[in-house]
């Protein structure tokens, strides 16, 4: 890679294609990685590399201290009143318990819905557009509900959490230190988003603008591994164009997320060609 050489044209990737890190030397990405200057695919791959590279972990730690100093150097003073607002909001948010030795991997931890997304910032008389931000908050909350649904696939006792929805726990995935996000086009239309934690071996799946299906058919989610497909649940009917979120845990190495159209009762194995196939970099 000669200094100053212009990169080859046409290297822009279609959204959803996961970039391949240079297998030869993933280390070079460490600087971009700690500055979040990477694509989601790069990040997922580097995370994977990092898990088994102690030298890299030490380097990431050191460089993060340097970036924290960059942040400190950019500090501006928060408006008066923000602190007390934040304190007030904190009082309404349940704190996560610590991870203990017997916390099973991939366990979904109970927490309250991210209501703080709705915390109103009282401006100094400046009119603000609330509707879009509320919409974002609602979307976040519905993503939260998904983790819950995913856990419900693993036994009747957690089925309760379906009803409790938002009072439960996407947090494990969303707050995992290695959380990564990927998006991909769905072949028949629409797009899918996967938020995933390698550490927790869990992901949250949502889809947008999937074509409507006749009542007898539904979308079914799969984990496609080297040993074959495992059903990961039926996608609930879309609401305002959004399907999911669903939580899928128990990811294994080599898994891909896949989506097919199946009879509404679900299938044990895919009966139609996949309309989505997304590698997870596991």
């Amino acid at each position: 890679m000669a200094e100053g050489r212009k990169p080859p044209a046409g290297r822009r990737r279609a959204p959803g294609r996961v970039a391949r890190l240079s297998r030869a030397d993933p280390h070079t990405l460490v600087g971009a990685y700690v500055m979040d200057a990477v694509s989601d695919g790069d990040r997922a791959r580097f995370d994977q590399h990092l898990a088994s590279c102690e030298t890299c972990q030490a380097e990431v730690r050191g460089l993060r201290e340097a970036t924290a100093r960059l942040a400190a150097a950019a500090a501006i003073r928060p408006r008066a009143g923000l602190r007390e607002q934040t304190m007030l909001a904190a009082g309404q948010i349940r704190q996560l318990p610590p991870v203990t030795r017997d916390s099973p991997a991939g366990r979904v931890t109970r927490w309250r819905a991210p209501r703080y997304a709705l915390v109103r910032l009282t401006g100094a008389g400046r009119p603000r557009a609330w509707v879009p931000r509320l919409a974002v908050a609602v979307a976040a909350a519905s993503v939260a509900a998904a983790v819950v649904m995913g856990s419900a696939m693993h036994g009747a006792e957690s089925r309760l959490s379906l009803a409790q929805g938002r009072s439960h726990a996407i947090a494990a995935v969303l707050s995992a230190p290695d959380v990564t996000m990927m998006t991909a086009e769905v072949r028949s239309g629409g797009s899918a988003t996967v938020v995933m934690s390698h550490r927790d071996r869990a992901l949250v799946f949502t889809a947008a603008d999937l074509p409507a299906l006749p009542g007898s058919r539904s979308y079914e989610l799969w984990l496609m591994g080297p040993a074959g497909p495992r059903p990961a649940g039926m996608l609930p009917a879309a609401r305002r164009g959004m399907s999911g979120p669903m939580v899928v845990s128990g990811l294994a190495r080599g898994d891909k997320v896949s989506l097919t159209v199946e009879p509404a009762s679900g299938s044990a194995r895919p009966t139609s060609p996949p309309i989505l196939m997304l590698g997870l970099g596991t």
Binding site: M1, H27, T28, Q57, R61, A66, L70, A71, R77, A89
Partner: protein
């Protein structure tokens, strides 16, 4: 990325430096940093003694200590807000993200692992990631720019408190010790939220070169800050 491992001595050193108290100087159109301009030190609140280590405060936050959370706010809100503002531009949205980050700290404090890095690094990593995620969501881009444009009209009229501290000076000086390409790569990525591909495009430099400059630039920055 907070593997449970003992931190190296270099990290420990950086950690101490980061816990420096922030001093705010009120920079307004009327009195930009003139001698005798109003000077105020961010109070650590009742959250702890002045200069209390952020990591210690976070450990107390994990136990539900609201005073400690106030202290965390006093230490971290300024850097978080400033960084997020640089990336998002929109003042209102930046405040919102700042609040989200602090509340995330409150919520997940028990997951903070001091062996994996300083409290400041933990919080700033959360903050930067969140700002970048938001700025990259194309969905909100148009609205954000519109709102920023509208907001900037009156925002410029508002006196803005810019944090000036030893840290600030030191970082500025260390940035000047980088090569120009290193410095541009680092600041475009960190303060503007660009990906390395975007930075490469902007600077007309090969992608691989940019990746390398980001890494060796940060290493030089780390070493420069570490020795002081």
């Amino acid at each position: 990325m907070w593997p449970r491992q003992p931190s190296s001595s270099a990290c420990g050193q950086a950690d101490r430096a980061i816990s420096t108290e922030y001093t705010y100087v009120n920079v307004s159109r009327t009195g930009p940093g003139a001698p005798g301009a109003p000077r105020e030190t961010a109070s650590p609140g009742s959250g702890g003694p002045p200069g209390a280590d952020l990591g210690v405060l976070i450990a107390r936050v994990a136990r539900g200590d609201e005073d400690a959370f106030r202290g965390v706010f006093d230490h971290a809100a300024g850097p978080v807000l400033g960084t997020v503002r640089r990336i998002l531009r929109d003042p209102a949205q930046s405040e919102e993200v700042m609040q989200e980050v602090l509340l995330e700290v409150w919520r997940t404090a028990a997951r903070f692992d001091p062996a994996a890095g300083s409290g400041a690094a933990w919080i700033m990593t959360l903050a930067h990631r969140r700002a970048v995620d938001r700025v990259r969501s194309e969905h909100s881009a148009a609205q954000r720019e519109l709102r920023a444009a509208v907001a900037s009209v009156d925002y410029d009229e508002v006196a803005e408190a810019v944090e000036v501290s030893l840290d600030h000076e030191r970082v500025r000086r260390c940035l000047t010790s980088l090569t120009e390409l290193q410095r541009e790569a680092v600041t475009l990525a960190y303060y503007r939220g660009y990906t390395y591909r975007e930075v490469a495009e902007l600077l007309g430099v090969a992608v691989g070169t940019i990746k390398t400059r980001m890494r060796d630039g940060l290493i030089r920055l780390r070493d420069c800050l570490g020795v002081e």
